[in-house]
């Protein structure tokens, strides 16, 4: 169970998780907390707490890097479908790292928190490959520098902003997807107003040596509880957000993955991203499959690998992630089907342990996102 495994890495917060009685599991090469102990712990409690108050997540396993140099941003654009030349300073944008066939190598956040290139956060399971790939292709004085001496904390939930404003009032001024470099808790921090739960909140990159002090400081507030990877997964599922390696992989394109919003207009018009031929054709209606949301209307939760069938029982696709939605009190899932079956309201079936169960195509997010949009000033 939790005995040390020398092949697995630990984040700077490992000791804090163990002290809190977390159940530790291997994830993406790290020993990570899947849920915490005690009467407030467990996936359901932690999930609900985050939706109602504020949850603190250790996401230090994710990959952080700076990409810098004279034309570093232009070079970075060659690997993805986002418009980063046009991204305003102080903002970040979600994008997809693409292979030459237009398949998704990873999804990522990249932003301009300072005057020095891009700050990039990628998935833990992909970070070595991503950074080797990007770093190996950068030319001239453009450089990728991994920030391995940094931890990454996420605070998420409707009370996250109130909690963080007590530590630093300036954080209240950030809008969704703002990205800044600032002094916070006495250290050099990268802060963005974003996350992966569908809630308002922040992701905060701090030096590893200060991570445990800052983690404990944030947890001093009664509104905040530590949240494990179990609830992180059920929260992102409710928010309709894909988990790379499950809901998208190197064979799926942005259009198939229903991530077409990540294709920035300037890049579409220029058709200058990897796999543009395929992806733009799919965008014009040629996709063979698309990612949909399903409400499983009866029976057991439909999980990754379960088949999706049409109303007559013919198998047309597969579930890529699914489970109970604690917020909605029903079973939800994501999966891929041909576009003809993707229309909202389409009656489908999911096959769980050989049994056909009624399901219906529904809109994602399953639970409304509550990102903080700054009021527009005239």
């Amino acid at each position: 169970m939790s005995e040390a495994n020398s092949d697995l890495k630990r984040t700077p917060l490992y000791d804090a998780h163990v002290a809190a009685g977390a159940r530790i599991v291997p994830f993406a090469g790290y020993e990570m907390p899947v849920q915490y102990a005690g009467e407030n712990g467990g996936v359901l409690n932690e999930h609900r707490w985050t939706r109602e108050h504020a949850g603190l997540f250790d996401v230090s396993h994710m990959g952080q890097a700076k990409i810098t140099g004279a034309d570093a941003i232009a070079q970075f654009e060659r690997f993805c479908c986002g418009d980063y030349e046009g991204l305003k300073p102080g903002k970040q944008r979600y994008s997809l790292l693409l292979n030459d066939q237009g398949g998704i190598l990873d999804d990522l956040m990249a932003g301009k928190p300072d005057e020095d290139g891009l700050f990039v956060v990628v998935n833990a399971g992909c970070k070595d490959a991503d950074f080797a790939y990007i770093g190996g292709k950068l030319q001239g004085d453009a450089t990728l520098t991994r920030l391995e001496d940094r931890a990454l904390l996420a605070i998420q939930g409707p009370e996250a902003a109130e909690v963080m404003a007590k530590h630093e009032p300036k954080l209240a001024d950030l809008g969704f997807m703002d990205s800044v470099r600032m002094e916070l808790f006495g250290v050099d921090a990268y802060v963005s107003r974003s996350g992966y739960t569908g809630e308002d909140g922040y992701e905060i990159s701090v030096p590893a040596a200060d991570a445990e002090r800052i983690w404990n400081l944030i947890l001093e507030d009664d509104k905040v509880r530590p949240i494990g990877l179990g609830a992180r997964d059920s929260l992102r599922l409710e928010a309709g957000l894909p988990l790379y390696g499950h809901d998208a992989d190197e064979t799926t394109s942005p259009v198939e993955a229903s991530l077409g919003f990540a294709l920035s207009k300037r890049r579409r018009d220029a058709a200058d991203f990897p796999g543009a031929d395929r992806i733009l054709k799919e965008r014009d209606g040629a996709a063979g499959r698309v990612r949909i949301g399903l409400h499983v209307k009866e029976g057991a939760p439909a999980r990754e690998g379960a088949e999706i069938a049409d109303a007559e029982g013919n198998v047309i696709g597969r579930i890529t992630s699914g489970g109970p939605s604690p917020t909605l009190g029903k079973n939800i899932a994501m999966g891929y089907v041909p576009p003809a079956f993707a229309e909202l309201g389409t009656a489908l079936k999911v096959i769980v342990r050989g049994r056909q169960q009624a399901a219906e195509v529904v809109a994602m997010p399953f639970v409304a996102q509550r990102y903080y949009r700054k009021p527009q000033t005239a």
């Binding site: 467990g42 996936v43 359901l44 179990g230 999980r303």
Partner: protein, 121 residues
């Protein structure tokens, strides 16, 4: 009550065994959100997957600790799966099985042996 290494318990009355999962198993699973129990009449060999218990995260098979015929599945778990967390070794029972061979139960661990076993995990 007798126990298996797969964390099922068995309580025998006459020729019928009530089976479920142990407190340890329920704690390890976390919040149970769905339980599928067998229908009456189903014939089980020892080691058959005869029920499924699902937490938020995953589905797990439950294996028949003894051979026999299902007399009753615990239908209440369908609408109240959380009973498995609240009272796994009582109201959270999964099925009653008419034993083919009552002596089969003798080969399973008693409470002391099971406690020693989970302490070793």
């Amino acid at each position: 009550m007798r126990f298996t290494k797969d964390h099922e318990w068995v309580a025998v009355e006459g020729d019928t065994a009530t089976v479920g999962i142990t407190q340890y198993a329920a704690d390890q699973l976390g919040d149970v959100v769905f339980v599928e129990v067998p229908d009456a009449g189903k014939t089980l060999s020892k080691g058959d997957s005869f029920a499924v218990v699902e937490s938020v995260k995953a589905a797990s098979d439950v294996y028949a600790p003894v051979a026999g015929e299902v007399v009753e599945g615990n239908a209440e778990l369908g609408s109240a799966p959380e009973t498995v967390n609240a009272d796994p070794e009582g109201k959270g029972w999964f099925a009653k099985i008419r034993l083919n061979d009552a002596s089969e139960v003798e080969g399973l661990m008693d409470r002391a042996a099971y406690d020693a076993y989970i302490a070793s995990l």
